[in-house]
Symmetry: D2
Subunit: 218 residues, 4 copies
Amino acid sequence: MKKILLTGFEPFNQDSINPSWEAVKLLDGLNTHLFHVRSIELPCVFGQSVQQLSKAIALTQPDIVIAVGLAAGRSEISVERVAINIDDARIPDNANNQPIDIPVVADAPAAYFSTLPIKAIVQKIRQEGIPAGVSQSAGSFVCNHVFYGLMHHVAQHSPNLRAGFIHVPAIPQQVAKGGSNANQPSMSLTDIVRGLRIALAVCCTQQHDIVVAGGQTS
Amino acid sequence: MKKILLTGFEPFNQDSINPSWEAVKLLDGLNTHLFHVRSIELPCVFGQSVQQLSKAIALTQPDIVIAVGLAAGRSEISVERVAINIDDARIPDNANNQPIDIPVVADAPAAYFSTLPIKAIVQKIRQEGIPAGVSQSAGSFVCNHVFYGLMHHVAQHSPNLRAGFIHVPAIPQQVAKGGSNANQPSMSLTDIVRGLRIALAVCCTQQHDIVVAGGQTS
Amino acid sequence: MKKILLTGFEPFNQDSINPSWEAVKLLDGLNTHLFHVRSIELPCVFGQSVQQLSKAIALTQPDIVIAVGLAAGRSEISVERVAINIDDARIPDNANNQPIDIPVVADAPAAYFSTLPIKAIVQKIRQEGIPAGVSQSAGSFVCNHVFYGLMHHVAQHSPNLRAGFIHVPAIPQQVAKGGSNANQPSMSLTDIVRGLRIALAVCCTQQHDIVVAGGQTS
Amino acid sequence: MKKILLTGFEPFNQDSINPSWEAVKLLDGLNTHLFHVRSIELPCVFGQSVQQLSKAIALTQPDIVIAVGLAAGRSEISVERVAINIDDARIPDNANNQPIDIPVVADAPAAYFSTLPIKAIVQKIRQEGIPAGVSQSAGSFVCNHVFYGLMHHVAQHSPNLRAGFIHVPAIPQQVAKGGSNANQPSMSLTDIVRGLRIALAVCCTQQHDIVVAGGQTS
């Protein structure tokens, strides 16, 4: 049985909730014949977020780590392919940091690829009737920062740990409120939780990724 | 207690399901202290759809009629404001008719406004956490055709009947399948049904519409 | 030779220019073997805009009137099909009016259709390499207000006058500035002017519209 | 005076023209006090495209190389930040290759960052009234392949060569034709050429990039 560490984020940018944490919280403590889940909430803060994640990995010794974040404006669960070594913030984080074009980790590789079976996850989620896709960019804000920090930690300390990042859409409640989320696509929290749960199972059963197209022309 | 006639459409354009009928079907027979619902499925065919709707109105003598259709690509429940007197089909209907720039009804008004309390419906659906908005165009295909035919029937035969049209998004299952629905926003069938049920209640309790902005700049 | 009256709008909503007037201004005074153009700028104000347009029609006695407005967010020249009898303003106009769900003209028809050859205009503009389409909604702000006011004036006073409305995209300069226009599609002023000039010629030569699909499914 | 090598692509995916080559071709031979331009057309083929580019670099010994490609669907000139070491083709290339999840170069870094002053380029193009932005993903098709191949060549053989990739929108003529490009945003070839020319000048004058936000939240 695999130990899975799941992370979600606290709210940011004037939102009062963050669906990544709402979803991940609901999976905390889940025990199946395949896996056991431990979920934690990360601050939406450069630096601190990665430090807390690294501590949690040291503490819980998971086999799999999946960090989850909100991608407002996207309509599907998007499984990220690659983390890049850059922080470039359009808006301040929750501690009012706004790094611009600073490496996440100095003198480290330009990028890391997810080691989750991303194509298999997407295929299985879609087979269960939930929109999903591979994404080629996790942005350059705290989500990408945590994704890169996670993969760098793995590369340095835990080469056998399987790790990656999944972005989820806004939930209907956020969009219905209007404001900066108005007119955006959304996904029900139920489908987000179902989709993540499918991802967890696939990570436990799928040793190598499948070969199906999932890229983008541009 | 109000008698409500709800209509949904059969699938069209290579889809195997139409969420408008899936949702409306689930509300068939619903009895509350405010209303009783009778739901019927309309063919996605110019002419026949309006004929069947007119027959159902004559037969069931409803107080309120709400026709519901699919608007693939939209991310919210959209309450239509106006039906226009034109059929202009980009694709053939299910009987292979493709009228171009033909009036729905010859020598009839250019348009009819919905007589539902559209702003109150939108406000209440959003208060319940479901994305919704007013739409200024129901297109020029069978949805607008049924909407116009319905309002013309009301104008001719049943001036006290309250009537209008609501478009609903694609559901996640359609988008997950890929094909022509790939990458579109979606809404869970549960939220569509909840949203429609709210609309029904508002139509029974809200005699006059509320005054809140809901238009579009262009 | 036809006399054509063209109108554009003054800037609104924090913009310093309005491409509708920038384009229309460049066509003022144009003489070809088919037509002579007179262009005027309308205030972005409910009521006044229609009054000034009506005066200009009375004064210049045109054969054709085309009102032009900005549709930020659209990527093509959109030839409007129908004006609806409603003012519903999301934002105040330039005189700080914000009518909500008020008819443009009390006790007047719900809508008027454009009497321009809309499909022929779209086809010809596209043949010349410029994106164009038919639009089923001119919104519910001052553009629709002027369009409706124009068509009502024609219906009341000048049944032989050919009239309609064309929306144009933002221009690159507006989008490059960022702010509320950031990330929107745009069209060069040159292509907007070329497209409008094609529209003028088609209105002079095309007595009846052509029969090609141009509607929307929803 | 700097020697600049510019590349564009041949048409692909049923298009008869590729605006990247149309634009780059117009800059071929340009001599200013800052730079001299040499432009070449690359095949839209995995492998061959990079081989031809490497040969051209060896032959012309440029100081700066900018590869340019089409990003249909985008509305601005997008200056790419990072090339990733993956080929994942949704559609076959022009030689009918469709690699899926294959590294561009085996045993090479996961990614390379552009060495162009990307923020300064974006700022200057926008100051000249042309929409532009930084992009965090060049996709996973032949554009990213060439970008990665270029940066790997530089890393291996020409550490002082400044190099990067710029995506340009579709041009109006492609969109006006309809088909797979219908309804997409576009940019005039004139503005694309002007934007690229600005980029060339900035690469010659701007030694270090400027510090302004240009990232994405997700």
